[in-house]
């Protein structure tokens, strides 16, 4: 009996010890650092390839060189994995990264409510003005909880050659001109628009944009706070979307087309001359590049902003956009983390973001670093816009934003009317 008891106890102890060992190893790591001042910033970002990854690796090294007591560890992730899975899970855990990608909007509001991010206001006060209005999308109740490093706007990426072939001499400035252009392209037997309907969010761009072009600035700004969609402009957005859908401007089987993967994605169709235009974000040239046979951004590619709707309450030139930023989690050491974010927005780093076409810099005075003609056009539109609405699926709380994407995708599939789209979004807002 003694022997068995011993074995049983030993087994129990071993098992418990294993658990203890794991947890103590986890606990020991942070406290076992050499000096009190030395800290490490674990940095989760979405630049998992190309110029962006190289730049962030370099930035981490430079910051450590300037602040020897701070080590920055960049950890790249694929964008959707980072946004949908890694960050929410890490923030719910006891070991979040110190610095992490933040897209602002409703998700940031939720993170602030749950005390998962630190208020940066006092740290960034001396310099935040240098990035102008871009900072607003990353504020909650007037406080700065994340800092953007690149902000772009959505617009039509188009094929200049196909436009010329269809006899379109100037890019559409108004909604009726866009309709006319679509009809001309159809008459010339060219697929007017490619859309990545499988992914749903590209469908939502149309609804978002038409709302931005139809609703007043006040209505738009209140929508993400009150989730009240009673203003008739919301219904009208869906009516305009329906008008577009009735023209059948999209490629065959657009409901199953992905936005970004492969030559038959919507970006691939435009890049390979199979469709004349695509409504997409500023990242689109980078998406197209690997999808062409020669791995080059096609020379025929041009950009124009979403046309205005005449006679609406919106300010002409209002745009839909968004960007990338970083925030400091509740666990991040201060002021090191805030200093690091300041470095990301320093002129030196911002200029390199522009010159490598990795993004569109936000710091005033660094715009000239952008040399790509299309990105210059995007930047010019951004600078000249009186109002930039954050993508609605990002601006809204996650569940409501997803309901918006799903509802517009239903409309694209012929399964929802404009009124039902508004009703579905409003219903999702009530569930909170």
């Amino acid at each position: 009996m003694k022997r068995w008891t011993l074995i049983a106890v030993a087994t129990g102890v071993v098992a418990c010890a294993a658990v203890l060992g794991v947890s103590s190893a986890g606990l020991a790591a942070p406290s076992g650092t050499k000096s009190k001042k030395a800290v490490t910033l674990v940095w989760w970002h979405n630049a998992n390839q190309g110029a962006g990854k190289a730049l962030w690796d370099q930035v981490a090294k430079e910051f450590h060189a300037a602040h020897p007591d701070v080590t920055v560890k960049p950890v790249p992730f694929q964008n959707e994995v980072l946004q949908n899975t890694r960050i929410p899970i890490a923030l719910a855990s006891n070991k979040p990264p110190d610095v992490f990608q933040n897209w602002g909007g409703g998700s940031l509001v939720d993170q602030v409510k749950a005390n998962k991010v630190q208020d940066l206001t006092k740290y960034v006060k001396p310099w935040i003005k240098t990035i102008g209005g871009s900072a607003a999308g990353w504020q909650v109740n007037g406080k700065q909880y994340a800092i953007p490093y690149s902000v772009g706007v959505v617009g039509f990426w188009y094929n200049k050659e196909l436009f010329a072939k269809a006899g379109i001499t100037s890019t559409p400035k108004t909604w009726p001109q866009l309709i006319a252009a679509i009809n001309k392209l159809k008459a010339a037997d060219i697929t007017p628009i490619a859309v990545g309907g499988k992914d749903r969010w590209p469908d939502a761009f149309y609804w978002d944009y038409l709302a931005t072009k139809l609703c007043s600035k006040t209505t738009m700004q209140q929508s993400a706070v009150t989730y009240n969609f009673k203003d008739p402009c919301w219904l009208k957005a869906g009516v305009y979307v329906q008008q577009l859908l009735n023209l059948k401007p999209f490629q065959d089987g657009f409901l199953a087309t992905p936005a970004q993967q492969g030559a038959t994605s919507s970006a691939g169709l435009v890049a390979n001359g199979k469709a004349a235009m695509e409504l997409q974000g500023h990242w689109n040239p980078g998406v197209m590049q690997p999808l062409t046979p020669d791995n080059k951004i096609p020379g025929f590619l041009g950009w124009f902003p979403f046309p205005n709707v005449p006679g609406s309450k919106a300010l002409p030139g209002s745009l839909l956009g968004g960007g990338d930023g970083f925030s400091c989690s509740w666990k991040a050491p201060m002021p090191a983390c805030a200093q690091f974010l300041a470095y990301v927005d320093s002129p030196s780093v911002q200029r390199r973001i522009g010159s490598t076409s990795f993004g569109l810099p936000v710091r005033k005075g660094t715009e000239s670093s952008v040399t790509d003609p299309n990105l210059k056009a995007v930047l010019a539109a951004r600078s000249g816009s009186p109002f930039i609405q954050l993508y609605l699926d990002i601006a809204f709380s996650r569940a409501i934003g997803q309901a918006l994407d799903n509802a517009t995708a239903d409309q694209f599939a012929g399964k929802a009317t404009p009124a039902q789209v508004v009703a579905k979004i409003a219903a999702a807002a009530k569930k909170k």
Binding site: M1, W4, T5, I7, A8, T11, G12, A15, N84, T85, P88, I89, L91, A92, D110, Q111, K113, A114, K116, G197, K198, D199, R200, Q251, D252, G253, F254, L255, A256, T257, G262, T264, R398, A399, Q402, A403, N406, A409, D410, F412, A413, G414, K415, A416, K431, K432
Partner: protein, 311 residues
């Protein structure tokens, strides 16, 4: 009395020792099972009573609200219906097909092992690879469309993945392509177990091959078929990877399953409490089905085996 006691104690002690011994041996398994299966299941049931976005503490208790919402949501009912159709199609179409092929390649013929290999290869591929390969093949004007056109069947070309009425059946064909090999291999193994004497006796009695199939082969293949059906039904209820990669459950939910609906609600919308209630529903369906199937269908196959230790 004293003698009796002194005799009894060692017996009790031996008993105690035996149980300790058993406890020591099964403890690791029990601990693992509890930590990785039981505790998460109980936790999931707990979460499913809350409205929770994963960030804030669990405070918004909604009782059965999540379950009411799930059963009231047309999108979830549509997903459940899809799983049901999948179960029916698997049993109704894959079973006869796999059985037919198994009987064919069970005959002595040239290249038999080659055929077996060919039928089994798709099963070895992962679902993700299968999904990506078929995505390419089924593109508009892709391999399938081109092939049909080149043999003069251009008229039946469809938007295989974009047609709301068709996409789910397109996926069923891909699923069948992938999993039919597994059924065939199982049935072949079952056929090997049927004694040749029975077939010979039947032949001597003048039975036609159809009669032999009906009264000898199929009944004796029963246990194999029942096991396969069990796996096919569970697989149909839990289907996720292939659908997620090929269609994300779309367009407009036309190819959704309970699992894609759950991920949509949980991962994409961060409605973790609600998505967990969907997970619990999915779990309950699988669990109840498994138990009932064990009791009513599989029992006779395992009688005298694991289910009745006393025999």
């Amino acid at each position: 009395m004293t003698a009796g006691r002194s005799k009894g104690w060692p017996a009790v002690r031996r008993q105690g020792r035996k149980w300790l011994q058993i406890a020591a041996y099964i403890a690791p398994a029990v601990v693992l099972y509890a930590v990785f299966i039981i505790v998460p299941v109980v936790q999931a049931i707990h979460y499913s009573f809350y409205s929770w976005n994963g960030l804030e503490p669990l405070t918004d208790f909604v009782g059965l609200g999540n379950y009411r919402e799930a059963f009231g949501d047309p999108a979830f009912r549509q997903a459940m219906q899809h799983n049901g159709i999948l179960v029916a199609l698997s049993l109704g179409l894959q079973l006869p097909l796999a059985l037919g092929v198994a009987l064919l390649v069970n005959r002595p013929m040239r290249g038999r092992s080659l055929f077996r290999l060919i039928f089994f290869v798709p099963y070895v591929l992962s679902e993700a690879i299968t999904a990506i390969v078929f995505l390419q093949i089924l593109q508009p004007d892709g391999l399938v469309d081109q092939t049909l056109k080149s043999v003069g069947l251009g008229g039946i070309v469809q938007l295989w993945l974009a047609d709301l009425g068709l996409v789910f059946y397109t996926l069923f064909v891909v699923i069948t392509w992938k999993y039919i090999g597994f059924a065939i291999i199982l049935f072949l193994a079952g056929l090997q177990g049927i004694p040749q004497e029975l077939n010979e006796a039947a032949a001597i009695d003048g039975a036609t091959s159809w009669t032999t199939l009906r009264y000898i082969t199929v009944p004796l293949l029963g246990p194999t078929i029942r096991i396969w059906a069990f796996l096919a039904i569970i697989g149909s209820i839990q289907l996720f990877d292939l659908v997620w990669i090929m269609t994300l459950g779309g367009p407009a939910g036309a190819s959704s399953t309970m699992a894609t609906y759950m991920v949509d609600q949980g991962v994409n919308s961060l409605r973790l409490g609600y998505a967990t209630s969907v997970a619990v529903i999915l779990f309950s369906i699988c669990f109840v089905f498994s138990i009932l199937y064990q009791i009513f269908v599989l029992r006779r196959d395992v009688a005298g085996g694991t289910s009745r230790m006393a025999g």
